[in-house]
């Protein structure tokens, strides 16, 4: 048994938070079989205060302020950077669109620990928040279709899980902090998209104007309508389409449950709260109340999220790290590897060796930047029970298809779903005369275009921690 510390840092539109978790690994196989290291427990050991995300201006994050928050919380938790084995810094919501977001997330990940990955992007945020809310587990346990709405300050991230598997995500520019007011109810800041939306509602959102409660209600009502459209509208309205951040859901779903996370979730279905609508000087509380009155809330089975405002940070801290299969092959001195794009080939759609090579080469070429190559990983489903002859020909095919990587200084990285990575790695090593750095992993499901980070070995070298990032900085 081995326990590692994982850090999660969420830098969102409105709030910044940190959590630390203990992740416990154990060999669950008997002594009479090949090892099988699993994550057997995740426990949050520290939750930070909830900070307002420090900004220098409306489009720039205050890196000094952020650094101060992180250093202070690490010392309060009495955890040093070197003790943190894994984790994620995620810049979410509108903050991800600030001009220095990418730089900041890298800086913060260095500050947080050697293998704390930096990431952002609405798809990943949706998945992480849903996992933090416990939606993946519910979906798996009940074999159900569950949709999580993570409603934050700037965005609403939607993730659809079916039988425990993520099947769809979407993101909308809807949130509790698209409008900020000051203590005198005067408008302090309004997002561009909300301004446009307000035009058709006859609400004037000029800066400095005093705004009435009923006007905020009109805006919140409209937002709740648009969220309702996600599940109920046959034809989507123009406003709906206008508020899509990157893409809509692929289709209309009929969920067994829906759940809400994010800051606004604390005010959804919560009639007994005693807070004044202007407690946070924004739209959040009213938006929560309007969603409670909407068909989205009333006509669905509601699952009470395990975490609301902390869902994303808990997801980042506890649910981003995966563990590879326990029989694998790797060259250890090249780890960790960060930000490796994955090229996924579906062998079931490949009919010949030539076709396989063409498909791999073509996709690998997408990542050949002008200044040479970039290390891309080849992801295959693999099959359950290869013969030795099949493994040999698979290895030969991979080497031929990836000749450019083989000749470059980049490691040859192969990721399989089914258990065959150790023998495949040893076969690659034999054919390449043990002269090439390789990483051959299994037990990892990854999609075309995902990015992965592969950390330093755990559990006596049997497994590697892997973080799958669904998209980094969706420009």
């Amino acid at each position: 048994m081995e326990t590692i510390i994982s850090a999660g840092i969420d830098i969102g539109t409105s709030t910044t938070q940190i959590v630390f978790s203990n992740i416990t690994l154990e060999n669950i196989a008997s002594d009479y079989t090949v090892p099988q290291i699993n994550i057997i427990d995740k426990e949050i050991i520290y939750k930070s205060d909830i900070y307002i995300t420090p900004l220098l201006s409306e489009d720039e994050i205050d890196s000094v302020g952020l650094r101060g928050i992180i250093e202070k919380e690490y010392s309060k938790a009495d955890i040093s950077k070197s003790e943190v084995s894994t984790g994620a810094v995620i810049i979410t919501g509108e903050t991800a669109r600030k001009k220095n977001a990418e730089l900041i997330s890298k800086e913060m990940s260095d500050l947080a620990g050697d293998f704390v990955v930096a990431s952002a992007g609405p798809d990943l945020e949706a998945i992480i928040a849903a996992k933090g809310a416990g939606v993946d587990q519910l979906s798996k346990k009940e074999n159900a279709l569950v949709i999580n709405f993570d409603i934050g300050g700037g965005t609403t991230n939607i993730a659809v899980f079916d039988s425990g598997e993520i099947i769809d995500t979407a993101c909308f520019d809807l949130g509790g902090r698209l409008i900020k007011i000051d203590d005198n109810k005067k408008i302090h800041h309004v997002s561009e998209k909300l301004k446009k939306l307000a035009e058709s509602l006859n609400v004037e959102l000029e800066q400095g104007r005093e705004i009435a409660v009923h006007e905020l209600e009109v805006l919140a009502d409209k937002m709740a309508d648009i969220l309702t459209e996600i599940l109920f509208a046959e034809v989507k309205s123009d406003d709906y389409i206008y508020l899509i951040t990157n893409h809509d859901l692929k289709k209309k779903y009929n969920p067994d449950y829906i759940s809400f996370s994010g800051g606004v979730a604390d005010y959804i279905g919560n009639q007994s709260h005693q807070d004044n609508y202007d407690k946070y000087n924004d739209l959040g509380i009213i938006l929560g109340e309007k969603i409670t009155e909407s068909p989205l809330y009333k006509e669905n089975n509601i699952f009470n999220a395990e975490e609301t405002i902390r869902a994303t940070v808990v997801g980042a801290g506890s649910h981003t790290t995966n563990i590879s299969g326990s029989t694998i092959t790797y060259t250890s001195d090249i780890l960790p590897l960060k930000n490796i794009p994955a090229v996924k080939i579906d062998e079931n759609e490949i009919n010949s060796e030539a076709e396989f090579k063409t498909a791999v080469k073509q996709k690998m070429n997408w990542y050949n930047l002008e200044d040479g190559h970039q290390a891309a990983a080849l992801a295959l489903k693999g099959k359950k029970n290869y013969s030795f002859a099949e493994i040999t020909s698979l290895a030969e095919m991979i080497i031929e298809a990836e000749e450019e990587i083989v000749e470059s200084d980049f490691p040859l990285i192969v990721i399989l779903e089914h258990d065959a990575a150790k023998v495949l790695g040893q076969t690659l090593n034999r054919i390449l005369d043990h002269k090439k750095s390789i990483v051959s992993l299994d037990g990892i499901k990854i999609n075309d275009g995902d990015y992965i980070d592969i950390g330093k070995p755990l559990a006596g070298g049997k497994v590697l921690p892997v973080i799958i990032k669904t998209l980094i900085f969706d420009n």
Binding site: Y32, S163, K384, S387, F388, A420, K422, V423, Q426, R430
Partner: protein
């Protein structure tokens, strides 16, 4: 408004249609069945993947049950015919039992032994019946046999690997061709020298002891058929020991078991076994003392 008479007529017509529909389906099925039995051999019921078979009538949630079945080879969700098994379940049970019996009582084919360039020796057992009744004889060889092994094999190997039928010849047939080259490749990758492989008929695990002594092998490794069960008759084990001695305690041996198509794949097990053997040579020990 529809009056009662019209309504009755409509209902009657609908029922008539439904009945037609049903009988048409039944005819279709019968035709298909007939066509099948005319064209093909009788379907092999052991070809059905039990984890995907679900025989409960009118289940509340078929998908959820099938999901549970993915994690076990137990015969769940078989339904029932009154208080008994359905015919299909009973036949399958007996077919699997027969496969287990066959695995014990057949021999590993000469074809496989030839294909893999092995030579064949026997323990002191004269036949399978004696092998089953006299476990002590399954770990001993005659002096002539030991002399033959000594003559045909390289002496003092770092690792001696051989195969034995054990309680399932089927397991050896199913896995040896894949596991042996995987172990060999793994060991060669670590620059570890392997001795001359061969095959032992009527062999038990402890047959490794006289073999290790005879050849003076550092690590001795036997690939042996496991006692078959109803889930599979193809499961192979790999027993290994460092400096094996005659009468050594079981705690000095390591084993990787459950090597078959639905367990650990043979090629991947082979790759892992190479690591275990490497650890034995490095740590100069085996069994419970080995740190892996």
């Amino acid at each position: 408004m529809i009056n009662e008479k019209d309504l009755t007529e409509i209902v009657e017509r609908v029922i008539e249609e439904l009945e037609k529909e049903e009988s048409r389906e039944a005819v279709d099925q019968a035709v298909k069945r007939e066509a099948k039995s005319n064209n093909d051999e009788i379907v092999d019921i052991t070809d059905v993947d039990l984890k995907k078979q679900f025989l409960v009538d009118n289940p509340e949630n078929r998908e959820a049950f099938l999901k549970l079945k993915e994690s076990t080879s137990a015969r769940l969700g078989v339904g029932r015919a009154g208080p008994r098994y359905k015919t299909e379940t009973l036949l399958r049970f007996r077919a699997d039992h027969a496969a287990a019996m066959d695995a014990v009582f057949t021999d590993v084919s000469d074809q496989l032994i030839d294909d893999m360039n092995l030579f064949k020796v026997k323990t002191l057992c004269r036949d399978k019946d004696e092998y089953l009744k006299r476990p002590d004889l399954g770990k001993k060889f005659s002096d002539e046999t030991l002399a033959e092994i000594s003559n045909k094999c390289e002496k003092n190997p770092q690792v001696q690997i051989y195969a034995a039928d054990g309680l399932s010849s089927t397991a050896v047939e199913a896995n040896l061709k894949d596991i042996f080259p995987a172990i060999k490749q793994g060991l060669e990758g670590y620059n570890i020298k392997i001795g001359t492989p061969f095959f032992v008929q009527y062999g038990r695990v402890a047959s490794m002891e006289p073999i290790a002594k005879c050849l003076n092998a550092k690590v001795c490794c036997v690939l042996i058929g496991e006692r078959p069960g109803l889930a599979t008759a193809e499961s192979l084990s790999c027993y290994m020991a460092y400096d094996a001695e005659i009468g050594m305690p079981e705690s000095k041996r390591n084993v990787i078991s459950n090597i078959h198509a639905d367990g650990t794949p043979a090629v991947e097990a082979g790759a892992h076994i190479a690591d275990v053997i490497k650890a034995m040579l490095e740590q100069k020990t085996s069994g419970l003392d080995l740190d892996i």
